[in-house]
Symmetry: none
Subunit: 342 residues, 4 copies
Amino acid sequence: MEYRLLGRSGLKVSVISLGGWLTYGGHVEKQKTFDCMKAAFDAGVNFFDTAESYAGGQSEVVMGECIRKYGWARNELVISTKINWGGAFASKGHAENSVGLSRKHIVEGLSASLGRLGLDYVDLVYAHRPDRLTPMEETVRAFNHVIDQGKAFYWGTSEWSAEEITDAWRVADRLGLIGPVMEQPQYNLLVRDRVEREFYNLYAKHGLGLTTFSPLKMGILSGKYNDFKIPEGSRLSSSSDAFTKSMRAKFDTDEEMKKQINTTKRLEAVAKELGITLSQLAIAWIIKNPNISSVITGASRPEQVLENVEAVKHADKLTPEIMERVEEIVDNKPQLESRRFA
Amino acid sequence: MEYRLLGRSGLKVSVISLGGWLTYGGHVEKQKTFDCMKAAFDAGVNFFDTAESYAGGQSEVVMGECIRKYGWARNELVISTKINWGGAFASKGHAENSVGLSRKHIVEGLSASLGRLGLDYVDLVYAHRPDRLTPMEETVRAFNHVIDQGKAFYWGTSEWSAEEITDAWRVADRLGLIGPVMEQPQYNLLVRDRVEREFYNLYAKHGLGLTTFSPLKMGILSGKYNDFKIPEGSRLSSSSDAFTKSMRAKFDTDEEMKKQINTTKRLEAVAKELGITLSQLAIAWIIKNPNISSVITGASRPEQVLENVEAVKHADKLTPEIMERVEEIVDNKPQLESRRFA
Amino acid sequence: MEYRLLGRSGLKVSVISLGGWLTYGGHVEKQKTFDCMKAAFDAGVNFFDTAESYAGGQSEVVMGECIRKYGWARNELVISTKINWGGAFASKGHAENSVGLSRKHIVEGLSASLGRLGLDYVDLVYAHRPDRLTPMEETVRAFNHVIDQGKAFYWGTSEWSAEEITDAWRVADRLGLIGPVMEQPQYNLLVRDRVEREFYNLYAKHGLGLTTFSPLKMGILSGKYNDFKIPEGSRLSSSSDAFTKSMRAKFDTDEEMKKQINTTKRLEAVAKELGITLSQLAIAWIIKNPNISSVITGASRPEQVLENVEAVKHADKLTPEIMERVEEIVDNKPQLESRRFA
Amino acid sequence: MEYRLLGRSGLKVSVISLGGWLTYGGHVEKQKTFDCMKAAFDAGVNFFDTAESYAGGQSEVVMGECIRKYGWARNELVISTKINWGGAFASKGHAENSVGLSRKHIVEGLSASLGRLGLDYVDLVYAHRPDRLTPMEETVRAFNHVIDQGKAFYWGTSEWSAEEITDAWRVADRLGLIGPVMEQPQYNLLVRDRVEREFYNLYAKHGLGLTTFSPLKMGILSGKYNDFKIPEGSRLSSSSDAFTKSMRAKFDTDEEMKKQINTTKRLEAVAKELGITLSQLAIAWIIKNPNISSVITGASRPEQVLENVEAVKHADKLTPEIMERVEEIVDNKPQLESRRFA
């Protein structure tokens, strides 16, 4: 396993990490969750990601259970959670302070997360999406507060804009507080603009580190939809949550998705040539970007974990020539603004 | 004339202002320039805008001459210039420090501008486009330096992104310096995204004031291209600068421009109904946006000045119902991100 | 016993202290460790030094046991530990965050050290060597955090360069945090450059206090190698750790070591003349340097402790004349750069 | 000519610059000085370096005269001077405040330099060597003062240690002042330690830019001493200043110099192979280091200027293979300390 510093911090995270989104605590049964996490840990993964909102809190519960089951030492693990959407933990009609990034919800939400995880602290706590109703100063102060209380070591953001991250640093710099060290955006061969263009200035300026999600773009880059059909028995064919439903609806109508599947088919040829799977190509391609500290992968079976972890070894196969060919296929390289106008 | 505070400052600017871009010092002869400026001044306009790069410095020269010619008192005027592109003022092969936003060029460039204007100070100095090679701290410090030296009263930006403006405030807040008070973006019925969506947070957060350019979108919104032809004898038909040439080239090929002209024709019907000119409708519509401090207009004849200034009086005619109809015609209302994700 | 302020702090440390490096928890059996520590305590030593990495944590365990065994009051003791190398406390392949000076390891490492010591807090916590991968701000904040949490009273460094200590103060000064109060370098008659030249500015500027290690230069200055042989039955003759092995290897080949032993033999004559042992001469010489707060000595037998402590009484015998003779023998006085170039 | 940003600033300096040390105002006659400076300017050099102490102030006098003679615009030039040794400008016995880096001498010294140069401001002002008698805060404040007064745009240091530069930033950071942007060290194929090892952390941390002097190591790297003799008629054979005398004395006795000449002879073979002169090889080698903003060269004849400037074009000839061979010949690559001890 390769370990990278999390942005401009001293924390080392495995370049492949395992996340609980849409899987653990939900449709993946408990023993399978344990198997996946153990396979990951044994393969050198040290970073496990969850959120208060994943499976209504059950993702944290089952991931915490796994840590205790195998007796992993706390210093061997990097555990993260995310705060914003804790609506599931309040009775209907009284959830108004269980969402957002107020001091109240950051403190209460993180405490509840730690309770579900059975931990004294997480390593990383993320602001799960921006909350534009709460003043930035309150949010920055609250994350510093939980760090001071020893309940987290670092704080970051998820799906914030470059302006919002800069604004958080503005407040932190003015007050001598700790700014956001990491951001968790979507990033994959099909979605690149934010990471490669919008965040361009933030890497050197604030040492922003990225832990990216959706490396396979909801599975499209695994090639499993290459027949333009939802495979029977897949989660997408059966799950009933709103997110999955909206994904399903796109299959018949969405021109963009058709284009993405066509792109995926061309990428498959490259993967085959390199002797690796399409998923491995997709993950290895992300790893080549030095601004990415860790690729958060999802898995419902241990074999998937191993396939994903294997991608690290294959990263060297993505030579400049291969990268060039991939670039031509995806044809979506973000255009950087010129550095000086003259 | 209506006067508005320039963002969160105490300076009052006429809501209609007169700029020298592409006109004064260039193809508009000197006496016509004087006539336009006098018409504006007499109609209550107090704010005149120029830049070191307009007509290779000649815009500043002639506008300064006009001020002295009519003996206008300094306290009756708000004069702005913009620094970034001073390449015209260095011999070939030695212009490398005559562009950009280094301390050297901000100080030297502004001094040279004041020399051409024949003034001791400007009221406003803008960073004419961002310079991403110069550290933000150097630029913020340099604008504060020229303010401390008494050579400008306020500093702002032109065509910067929300992230860049926020970053300027980050530096200013940390060092206890003055941040950018105003921004000068393009804004009109056809180009709205930056002003209405991207800058959305900046008005309340930093008190950003806007002085907008291109209210008629290079003349399109005056209706003069409604026949899909360049009128004979117009500047566009004859001028040979690169900018004009590229505009001209678009007339035959650009689908976007055709669409804009069609939109303009539908707007013309609304203007007719209100008994005002199309230009007045376009300017009055901008004035309705309370985040705009001043609309910088261009004019090569005094009659145009008066037509533009007249728009102020007609702003009341743009009732909520009319605004709704305009919205339907232009069909480009920027989508704000929801204020909270839940 | 003489007590000195620890640099520019209000803490008083005995000028002779006892450290656990290469001895306690390792090859020195437990009862001997207790005897040494008791002899020291009874002789007025109040400062005991250890580290998370000494004997894989066993140094802390046994020293903590001793404190409880004799029921010494916490307020009578100054206890230090050092954080950086906690690799022994993670399973193979998962030690990446158990070394270095990240917030995670400083917090987790110190907590584990306190657990092994059986203490609620240490008086001093050192950064055991620099960690150039972790941003200085993170390290300075983390040491302040553990001080805020009540887990340590002061923080310092060990074997950092003058630039690195200055950089820590830069961060601390900017953020209004506590900077490093003490540094723990090697210092003895044979190794002087860092303490006397490189750190020269730091004593007055930051009030840097020194707690020095290796007063006898790994035993050379005790005279026990004066026959150019490793004495039978000594630790050096039998121990198998990498450090000891490399020391042993030098005896046959290292010209530098031969030179040092020759110097030692000449010093022995001076000691004899003063009626003290060579070790006492070596320790008394260090004590004469007012920038040294405490000399950390090692001992595997109580008699050694008493011999070392005795050196304090003999310091007065090192008159200016004797100091001059010693200077001639060691012939290694660091050359200070002139204070002004003219 | 290639232009580089001066460290983390927005100022562009030509990668080859021309300095007045040991030449202008001294043994090089005035017309020759003008010829050299004109040749440099015409070849694209924009940066000219001098100091209050060069030729007792005459270097500044003659260089200022040249600027006026050719009517070069101020915005086309980057002019630097250095303050510390102004002893020549006070009568004997009253020079105590004409040296050093006190507020008094920085202000008075720079004013006098500007007077000799006939300029309102320099672009760069250097602290010529550290002054360890003056508190760092006074020096940092004084350089900020002259910048605030408009008498310089940037300040830096010359031959300061990494600790001293870090300490200047400590003071600047605490007070919100401007820190040193550039340092002027000796740097060439024979003297590398400070630039490549000691300053290693400063490039990323503070954006330190370097303007290096002595690219040919007092001429040795030009090959002119390859016969182990001082060429007749050279400055070294005749000049009587203390510096030159001490250089001359080394020729007979200094083993180090003999070794350097032998190294130079081996480098000559490489230069020949590349079809460039030895001086060009030496200068091109410096240019390959991206931390160097500008190489300050000396010249007493215009042909030398052109030979030096030409080196820029030849930099590409120093392929990785050639760089490797040069490394083997000079055999003095500084050893970086490991980034983390584990």
